[in-house]
């Protein structure tokens, strides 16, 4: 690649193709996903749903629902992390751009569906909230799995969808356990695997 213009004219068609192929492969194998946010959100949602479930089931206190306020510092941390990461990023791929958009759309959908379910179901919102959320969790997880060609995420998405269907057959009180389980399979395990792959690359 360090050849000067003088000898560059000697480049044959096969050499040109080899250069194109090598460069496209180098760009293609550029994984900027280190799994950090999958792990953060996986553990935060896992922890909140489990604490909420245990509080309701064994201590019988509804106040345990306030554990979900932990999402606020997680949102702030995510914003700071993404801004910092954008500054450090040496390359932006089209995959990065689409992934950013799908996760942003996911965040908006989660907020809007929470609002709509709360408005339409009133005090009985909890009957529908978790099954719908499980279904929504599967969407960005599946698209990310497809774009990153990463099977654990695709499997995680199907697991979320399976949990959403299962939620309609089991008592509402157990829904929080399904959320915790879905987080472990769809975000925590793939998060560690992505981290492993990222460390291997660098």
């Amino acid at each position: 690649m360090e050849r000067t213009e003088k000898n560059s004219s000697a480049m044959s068609s096969a050499e040109s193709l080899a250069v194109i192929e090598a460069m496209i492969n180098k760009a293609k194998n550029q994984f900027s996903e280190n799994g950090h946010l999958y792990l953060l959100w996986g553990w935060v949602v896992f922890f909140c749903s489990l604490i909420h479930y245990l509080g309701l089931r064994f201590i019988k206190m509804v106040e345990f629902q306030y554990v979900w306020l932990l999402m606020l510092p997680a949102v702030l941390y995510t914003i700071v992390y993404l801004v910092k990461q954008k500054k450090q990023q040496k390359v932006t791929t089209y995959t990065d751009e689409v992934l950013g958009a799908i996760w942003m759309a996911f965040g908006v959908t989660i907020c809007i569906s929470g609002f709509v379910i709360g408005q339409t179901m009133g005090t009985e919102f909890y009957k529908l909230l978790n099954p719908i959320y499980l279904g929504i969790y599967g969407v960005p997880t599946f698209v990310s799995g497809m774009l990153l060609k990463f099977r654990p995420l695709k499997a995680g998405a199907f697991f979320c969808w399976g949990m959403a269907v299962l939620a309609t057959f089991i008592p509402v009180q157990e829904h929080l356990l399904l959320i915790a389980l879905a987080m472990a399979v769809a975000w925590i395990v793939p998060g560690y695997r992505l981290k492993q792959r990222y460390v291997k690359q660098s």
């Binding site: 360090e2 050849r3 068609s13 040109s16 460069m23 496209i24 500054k87 040496k90 390359v91 990065d96």
Partner: protein, 96 residues
């Protein structure tokens, strides 16, 4: 009748830069240097030629007080690359 290969693209380093940029949205100069194994001086000269031809866009900016050079391919660059590959294919097909 064979068409001439675009002389702007028909050099290893310039072709490598365009092939890399066609696969990503944008990239920093240091990333391109890392992937092409070129020296900063040589890469800079070749990138200027691509820029003068209108094939790439180079934006120099400051990030946290450090200079940063962001490069991206232009629509003209994409078109030129597509034509280059088509012409290359006709050469290769003729050879078979």
């Amino acid at each position: 009748m064979f068409k001439d290969l675009d002389p702007i693209l028909h050099t290893p380093l310039r072709l490598a830069v365009v092939s890399l940029l066609i696969s990503v949205k944008e990239a920093e100069f240091t990333f391109i240097r890392e992937k092409t194994n070129a020296t900063a001086g040589n890469l800079s000269v070749q990138m200027n030629k691509l820029k003068d031809a209108g094939y790439i866009e180079v934006v120099k900016q400051f990030r946290d007080n450090y200079p940063q050079t962001i490069c991206k391919i232009t629509p003209e660059g994409i078109k030129a690359f597509e034509i280059y590959v088509q012409n290359l294919q006709s050469y290769l097909n003729a050879g078979n």
